[in-house]
């Protein structure tokens, strides 16, 4: 437990110190959302209707962007070797790293949502609904994304390959995230069902993500 806490603390510290790593994700999120009205026109009614979808897409892309660094830094400086050799199971280390990443890069996206909701003319209730679904859904994005990050590290390729690997995996999260937010805003379908599935996806990711990431890291050792 000390070991995992130490890993989480270290990763968060680095994320906060190095070039505002976490904040760049938020800035990207903000930029993507600001771009949307230029493509769709500044019609507030239209923006309000598409708001949840825009916010979810922005959050998806922003969390993908920051995932690139999840394992590469540790791989490049040899820390991953020591993490593999440690007395902590690699699966738990991966889970801890993903958790730290979510706290440093995913949670700020959720916190930024209300401001972006304002730009998209969402009312307070709608913004709260989207923020809640993002809170429940972004862990799933991080945990499935980490599989791609682990694969990308072992293949020595990052960036676009990661995006191509991870984006299809995140489709279910997108579907239920947007469905839950829209149900909360417009009804008439229930909010509970898609929201529960969203939570389930996050929990499922919490189990499968670290296992798959650890397996692919072990396979790719060299």
């Amino acid at each position: 437990m000390t070991a995992l806490l130490a890993l989480i603390r270290r990763d968060i510290r680095i994320a906060l110190r190095v070039g505002g790593g976490a904040l760049i994700g938020v800035l990207f999120f903000l930029t993507v959302v600001v771009l949307m009205p230029f493509a769709m026109g500044p019609d507030l009614a239209l923006l309000a209707r598409l708001g949840p979808a825009i916010l979810w897409l922005g959050a998806l892309l922003a969390s993908l962007l920051t995932l690139d660094r999840l394992f590469t830094a540790d791989h490049d400086d040899g820390a991953l070797d020591l993490i593999t050799m440690s007395r902590t199971p690699l699966e738990l280390s991966c889970a801890a790293k993903a958790l730290a990443h979510w706290l440093a890069a995913g949670l700020p996206l959720v916190i930024a949502t209300p401001i972006l909701g304002l730009l998209l003319n969402l009312d307070a209730g709608a913004t709260a609904a989207v923020a809640l679904t993002l809170l429940a859904g972004t862990p799933a994005l991080t945990f499935t994304g980490m599989i791609g990050a682990a694969l990308a590290v072992t293949l020595h390729r990052g960036g676009l390959l990661l995006a191509v690997l991870v984006l299809p995996l995140s489709i279910p999260v997108l579907i239920f995230g947007v469905a839950a937010s829209e149900a909360a805003i417009a009804g008439p379908s229930s909010f509970g069902a898609p929201f529960s599935i969203l939570c389930a996806l996050s929990l499922f990711g919490l189990v499968v993500g670290p296992l798959a990431a650890a397996a692919s890291l072990r396979q790719g050792l060299d």
Partner: protein, 200 residues
């Protein structure tokens, strides 16, 4: 405690690096792995560390702690120093102490031994190559692990640093530790030589 390898073979990227390698080392003994560039010295260390899977043969450590794997009882000092430039010297060291697990000693003392105590609050980014290596060595001292796997350990160290490290290796062996070191230069301590790669 006894480290032994039986008929170890290593294949990397479809190329046979070495095969049929036998070696043995007991508590208090050092093994110097020598051979030309590309002969597989680093590969052998990574095989022992569990970071590579042997194509054939087996490597075992007898007499260690039964429930721990070979890797969990080893320290690996590779080419890359696993240091984060954004963290301070002591933050780097404390992280590995907390994370790796094992019997601990005082990090401040290890930093004093490698003569980095004056820099403990400074970011690791400000360290020179030799100082980074010293900081990696401090990790070996802060956590007690019986088997040291060293890849060109004296690289980047000045003569004073090399002397210091020879002393530290001697202390480790006298406490019953084992050392396997890949090296081009004489280690400076009594060591058995293990030659890789030039047989074929």
């Amino acid at each position: 405690m006894r480290l032994s390898g039986r008929e170890v073979g290593c294949v990397r990227g479809g190329r046979k690096v070495f095969s049929g390698l036998n070696f043995e080392a007991a508590s208090g003994e050092a093994l110097a792995v020598v051979g030309p560039n590309g002969s597989g010295k680093t590969s052998l260390l990574r095989l022992i560390a569990g970071l590579l899977v042997p194509a054939r043969g087996s490597i075992t450590l007898e007499g260690g702690e039964a429930e721990l794997t070979l890797a969990e009882q080893s320290h690996y000092l590779g080419h890359r120093d696993a240091l984060k430039p954004a963290l301070s010297v002591s933050e780097n060291l404390n992280f590995w102490r907390d994370f790796l697990g094992g019997e601990r000693s005082d990090p401040a003392e290890s930093l004093a031994t490698v003569e980095l105590d004056h820099a403990s609050h400074l970011p690791a980014a400000f360290l020179s190559a030799g100082q980074r290596r010293r900081l990696s060595i401090a990790r070996l001292l802060t956590l007690r692990r019986p088997l040291w796997l060293l890849d060109e350990p004296t690289n980047a160290l000045d003569t004073a640093g090399q002397r210091m490290f020879v002393g530290l290796m001697g202390d480790h062996l006298s406490r019953g530790g084992l050392i396997v070191a890949a090296t081009h230069m004489p280690l400076g301590i009594a060591a058995r030589t293990l030659r890789v790669g030039d047989a074929s």
